[in-house]
């Protein structure tokens, strides 16, 4: 009964059935039929015990080998069929991954805000603190303490919004410089601060003017501060903002709160001066001037130091300031001031989270 041929035949039948199973379900049935408890090889295995001792070993070995062959054939077939199934199912589950996926687009921060942060970060990295002050400001802080006495022509240089009445002593700050006064009155020496803020002048809104705009101002008060330190600080700042090797230029000018005073130009970061006298390659960013007017600066007028009780013999300082709208205009190619104030989401969204 348990001849070698019979056992081999069981294994052969099993392997044929395994090979013929084309699905995992069919294979499962084959497994029950040929490797289950009631399969011929399992039944044969059970009969071994009843055999005479002399035959037991040989038959037992033969049946064991046959079951091993069947099991490994089943396992191989199982793996093959699973791979086959996975390939089919995953192919069926494929999608068009190029479908639009953004249901809720990221919004945007105003480029003036992010540009101010960028400027502040450069100075924070240099050890400056960020100082702030109120937008509705005492006239004394906005003008008098900054060496602009009541009848000084400089007060007519910038047209001021007065709160309540022209004699109230309260204005919308016309510049960020009053923050300098607050910093000097409220902070211990030495002082290194950068002061961003919104300022106000009575200009009507058009493509190049706005009554509400932003400035960033820097102030350093220390012993032995020099104008060369101012120049070096501005050079470093210009490089951080516009790239390696960009330099600044100072031109004599006048501000009541600085003496000496200078206009601050930054080298054009697009043409770096190559457009000057080169009509074939004009530069739109600097108008082929090679330099871009950026702001004003100077050494803090000793009179300003006196007004806040800092000893002008022991301490000196420098200050500088620039318009953020103007910076955004030439840096990012904004051509119309109104885009920055109207709040059109198409404008701001284009800048995302960083200008």
């Amino acid at each position: 009964m348990l001849s070698a041929d019979a056992i081999d035949g069981m294994a052969r039948d099993a392997c044929a059935a395994i090979a013929a199973a084309s699905t995992l379900a069919a294979l499962k049935e084959v497994r029950i039929a040929h490797a289950g408890d009631r399969s011929p090889l399992a039944l044969a295995n059970r009969e071994i015990g009843a055999l005479p001792p002399a035959a037991k070993a040989e038959v037992g070995k033969r049946v064991g080998e046959a079951r091993g062959v069947v099991k490994s054939a089943l396992d191989d077939r199982q793996v093959a069929l699973e791979i086959e199934r996975d390939e089919r199912v995953l192919a069926e589950e494929s999608v068009d991954v190029t479908l639009p996926t953004v249901r809720e687009a990221v919004g945007g921060r105003h480029p003036l805000t992010t540009l101010i942060e960028r400027v502040c970060d450069v100075f924070v990295a240099m050890g400056y603190d960020i100082a702030e002050g109120p937008e509705v400001e005492a006239e004394w802080v906005n003008f008098d303490a900054l060496n602009v006495p009541p009848d000084h022509p400089a007060r007519t240089m910038q047209d001021t919004f007065y709160v309540s009445s022209p004699d109230s002593g309260v204005v919308l700050r016309t510049q960020t410089s009053p923050i300098q006064i607050r910093a000097m009155l409220e902070r211990p020496l030495p002082i290194y601060v950068v002061a961003p803020g919104r300022v106000f002048r009575t200009d009507e809104l058009d493509a190049t003017h706005t009554p509400v705009f932003h400035q960033v101002e820097g102030l350093a008060i220390d012993e032995n501060i020099t104008m060369a330190d101012l120049k070096g600080t501005l050079d470093h700042f210009a490089q951080a903002m516009f790239g390696e090797g960009i330099v600044t230029r100072l031109r004599p000018s006048y501000f009541p709160f600085t003496e000496p005073s200078a206009e601050l130009d930054v080298q054009c970061f697009v043409c770096r001066g190559s457009s000057v006298g080169n009509p074939d390659r004009p530069c739109r960013t600097c108008g082929s001037e090679g330099w871009i007017e950026w702001g004003g600066c100077g050494m803090v007028n000793p009179r300003v130091l006196s007004a806040v009780g800092i000893d002008p013999v022991r301490y000196r300082g420098f200050a500088f300031g620039m318009g953020i709208e103007r910076t955004l205009m030439f840096r990012n190619g904004v051509t119309d001031m109104r885009d920055m104030v109207e709040g059109d989401i198409r404008f701001t969204r284009a800048f995302g989270l960083e200008s």
């Binding site: 479908l99 809720e104 990221v106 919004g107 945007g108 921060r109 105003h110 805000t113 942060e117 502040c120 240099m126 050890g127 603190d129 702030e132 937008e135 509705v136 005492a138 802080v141 009848d151 022509p153 007519t156 919004f161 007065y162 709160v163 309540s164 009445s165 109230s168 919308l172 009507e204 509400v212 350093a220 032995n224 020099t226 104008m227 060369a228 330190d229 120049k231 070096g232 470093h236 100072l250 031109r251 004599p252 006048y254 009541p256 003496e259 000496p260 050494m299 007028n301 000793p302 007004a307 009780g309 104030v341 109207e342 709040g343 059109d344 989401i345 198409r346 701001t348 969204r349 989270l353």
Partner: protein, 826 residues
């Protein structure tokens, strides 16, 4: 200040190779901002010649009268030529400018001999406008008989080809409002001699014997330190100004009027001293400067009647007030075309006084602009001598003499260490250089090492402090020579909490889809009314501007919503229908104080003064707000759209609270701007810190926003103050979680937040989290009730919970909700 280069060259020997642009560059380096360099008659190519009109034949057969002129242009240019001309303002014998064939006029207009009106017109007689000299096109230019030799090159005579620099003069550089002052800068820049015309003594004839010059005086030497009157009689009022003078006035932007007026303007432009010419016969008694009596009046030359008071410095004679000192003359003493006797006023008025007068009367004139910025203290008699000489040279007359009063003049004396410029600049500048440079700007310098004693020149009233001298030295050495160094030490603290919070809130909102706007803070009653903001609401703006840009919006915002709503409407008008915009900025609440303080600027304000100054200001808290409208998620392949609703507005506040780590609770709110049933009060503890929800339908109607638009406004300052400075780390348990769902039925008026609070309270410490995941109202729940389904997670820090513990906690939660909210388990 417009400065013709030809005029500058007359005062200073600029190398002939230097053009207008080169000169402009020198001035910029010296600190004078040259805005433009114009070329007079730019575009003229070829020959303009002086012509003499020999004969005019009137041609009457055409639609308009035409003249056939014979014009002698000199033998070198073909002698007499026939030229057709349509202008009629000239006569035979006149001297004119002729453009010969081949000449190109501005605008590329080429002159050619051409057939017209039956003749060959062999050139053109030119008008001012055709030559690009000015706007005058009333007729052709008729030159004075002695303008030039017939056939001479007319370009230099009429100024074609001259360049004009337009200079923006800063308030400290009053001296640069004159050709003299600009020439002085150029003399230094080119290192050439400067023969100062401002101190040149003009040779005037000896005063006529017997005649008495007009007398003068100053009632207040503080306001008028110097007053002079120079008298010329028997002047020919019909004498014209010379052509060159007229051309220069035009180049400088002034209109030639008459010889007497032109001379005063010319000398003002040349030297910087404003002058005023009176008709001597209209004066009575001495002319003097003094303060106007209260309630007095003056009609100025611009025909405006001005009310004057004791703060106005005026010019008076025995008849009363005849001029506004340093600003504008009066009508009654004006010179006219019959004036033969002239009194020339040249005075020095205090800059502050003129600035006040000019500002009070909103009258900025060539004279006031110069006085405000400071006129050379000693210049007046020199300038009036120069003017008298010009008047008599071109208008004849007899010199009668000068009267003057003057306070003692002491130059401003400044002590400065010779090392100061080097110390401030941060580069070596030896004391010899310092002395030389100060002398070059006109200073008298005593001492050479150690401390210098410097007397500022009379034309530099801006030089009062050592810092002013430092600027002079450093700018003349050249700002471009400054080294680039860095300060040695700065120890920063990084951003403050307030600054970090603003950045993070802006970033969080934007990352979740919101777009930042920066709106103007100006609002008006209409904006506030349309938002239904009540008169007693703190969000009703109260800080008012004295001089608003628009009467519609004279106040400063007390809420961000008016600006956000306007920005939303603008966006929607432009087709941006789906909107989530936010703003982060200050609002202005309360009223500005009223006790005016103006501390001295000589020393630090006292603490009391500083508090008083700050007490003037309204509160200016930082607030964040948003407006939402349209769809949050558009319809797409993923499914239908999802509009923004009240919950998105509340969510944006919760995002902010989360960023700050603040526990923000939501309660039913009531705010007239919001839908009464869809308004959330944003609370921190017992204090309301904001509001969110759907806008009131009346607000939507009034503001023209789309239906169901939503908004939120939250005090960032309040949130920030409640924020924990340092957050504690949580204990993260690794034991298994037990999840329990339960549904509770509660009456409709029980807020979900109350049920949540109650469940949390009852469940105790084992509750890790709870989430409301469904709200059901319908047939399976009693009328007026709703079912709220919650998912609870229980977990212990130290052990695996057993079924009994979980069951107890769950039941305790249900019991708590039943007790406080009347909830029943569904």
């Amino acid at each position: 200040m417009r400065a013709p280069v030809s005029w500058l060259r007359e005062l200073v020997d600029i190398p002939s190779s230097e053009g207008g642009r080169d000169i402009a560059e020198r001035l910029v380096r010296a600190g004078l901002e040259v805005e433009t360099v114009e070329v007079i008659g730019e575009g003229v190519v070829g020959t303009l010649v002086i012509g003499h009109v020999v004969e005019i034949e009137e041609l009457a057969e055409f639609k308009k009268p035409i003249r056939w002129c014979q014009v002698d242009v000199g033998p070198g240019h073909g002698g007499v030529r026939g030229i057709i001309c349509g202008a009629r303002n000239f006569a035979a014998g006149d001297i004119v400018v002729v453009a010969l064939p081949g000449t190109v006029l501005p605008g590329g207009f080429m002159i050619a001999a051409r057939e017209t009106y039956g003749h060959t017109s062999d050139g053109m007689i030119c008008s001012e406008r055709e030559l690009g000299l000015g706007d005058n096109h009333d007729g052709i230019m008729v030159l004075p008989a002695d303008a030039g030799v017939i056939g001479a090159d007319a370009a230099p005579i009429v100024g074609v080809g001259d360049e004009v620099l337009d200079i923006a003069v800063t308030p400290d550089r009053g001296y640069a409002l004159s050709i003299r002052g600009i020439a002085r800068e150029l003399a230094f820049s080119y290192d050439v001699e400067f023969d100062d015309p401002g101190v040149r003594v003009v040779a005037l004839p000896a005063p006529a014997s017997g005649a008495v010059p007009a007398d003068c005086g100053s009632e207040d030497f503080g306001a008028c330190e110097l007053f002079t009157m120079r008298t010329v009689t028997g002047f020919d009022p019909s004498a014209p100004s010379p052509l060159w003078m007229q051309r220069r006035l035009v180049s400088c932007g002034m209109r030639p009027v008459s010889l007497a007026v032109d001379v005063t303007n010319y000398v003002m432009l040349e030297l910087g001293q404003p002058l005023h010419a009176f008709d001597l016969d209209k004066l009575s008694g001495p002319v003097r400067a003094g303060w106007a009596p209260a309630g007095s009046r003056l009609e100025t030359l611009d025909h405006v009647v001005r009310d004057l008071g004791p703060e106005d410095l005026v010019i008076m004679d025995d008849s009363g007030i005849i001029g506004l000192a340093g600003t504008m003359g009066g009508l009654t003493s004006e010179i006219d075309d019959g004036t033969v006797n002239i009194a020339l006023e040249a005075a020095h008025f205090s800059s502050g006084v003129v600035a006040r007068v000019s500002r009070r009367h909103r009258l900025s004139t060539e004279a006031s602009r110069r006085f405000e910025r400071g006129v050379d203290r000693v210049l007046a008699p020199y300038a009036s001598a120069r003017a008298a000489e010009l008047l008599m040279r071109f208008g004849g007359g007899t010199y009668v003499g000068m009267t003057a009063v003057e306070a003692e003049y002491r130059p401003s004396r400044i002590s400065m260490p010779a090392s100061e410029p080097a110390d401030v600049a941060g580069m070596p500048i030896d004391s010899a250089t310092v002395v030389r440079l100060l002398q070059s700007v006109g200073c008298e310098v005593a001492g050479s090492d150690g401390t210098l004693t410097v007397d500022a020149p009379s034309w530099r009233p801006d030089l009062t402090d050592p810092a002013d001298l430092v600027e002079e030295v450093v700018r003349l050495v050249g700002y471009d020579t400054l080294p680039s160094t860095l300060p040695t030490s700065a120890l920063g603290h990084g951003l403050t909490q307030a600054q970090r919070v603003r950045r993070r809130v802006g970033m969080a909102l934007a990352a979740r889809g919101a777009i930042e706007v920066l709106t103007y803070p100006f609002v008006g009653d209409r904006d506030l009314d349309s938002l239904r903001i009540a008169a007693d609401d703190p969000c009703r703006a109260r800080v008012r501007l004295a001089n608003p840009l628009s009467d519609e919006q004279p106040m400063l915002r007390a809420s961000l919503l008016p600006g956000l709503v306007a920005a939303a409407r603008r966006n929607i008008g432009r087709g941006n229908f789906d909107l989530n915009i936010f703003e982060l900025g200050s609002v202005f609440r309360g009223l500005a104080g009223e006790t005016l303080v103006r501390p001295s600027v000589e020393h630090r304000p006292t603490d009391a003064e500083w508090s008083a100054l700050n007490a003037l200001l309204p509160e200016q808290p930082i607030v964040v707000g948003c407006v939402l409208a349209g769809e949050r998620i558009p319809a797409g392949w993923w499914g239908p759209s999802r509009p923004y609703d009240w919950s998105d507005a509340v969510e944006s506040a919760q995002v902010i609270a989360e960023v700050l780590g603040v526990e923000l609770t939501i309660a039913r709110g009531s705010d007239p701007t919001f839908h009464p049933g869809r308004c959330a009060a944003l609370m921190i503890g017992e204090a309301q810190v904001g509001v969110a929800g759907e806008l009131h339908p009346r607000v939507i109607e009034a503001t023209e926003l789309p239906a169901r638009a939503c908004a939120m406004e939250l005090s960032l300052d309040a949130c920030r103050e409640a924020a924990t400075a340092v957050r504690r780390a949580p204990a993260v348990s690794t034991h298994p979680v037990a999840k329990e769902d339960l549904a509770l039925v509660v009456a409709d008026d029980v807020p979900a937040s109350a049920v949540l609070d109650s469940l949390r309270e009852g469940a105790g410490d084992l509750l890790e989290s709870i989430r409301l995941f469904d709200v059901y109202r319908g047939s399976q729940v009693a009328e007026g009730h709703r079912s709220l389904a919650f998912a609870l997670k229980f977990r212990a820090a130290d052990r695996t919970l057993d079924a009994g513990e979980i069951q107890l906690a769950r039941q305790a939660a249900i019991d708590s909700a039943a007790r406080t909210c009347g909830a029943t388990l569904r």
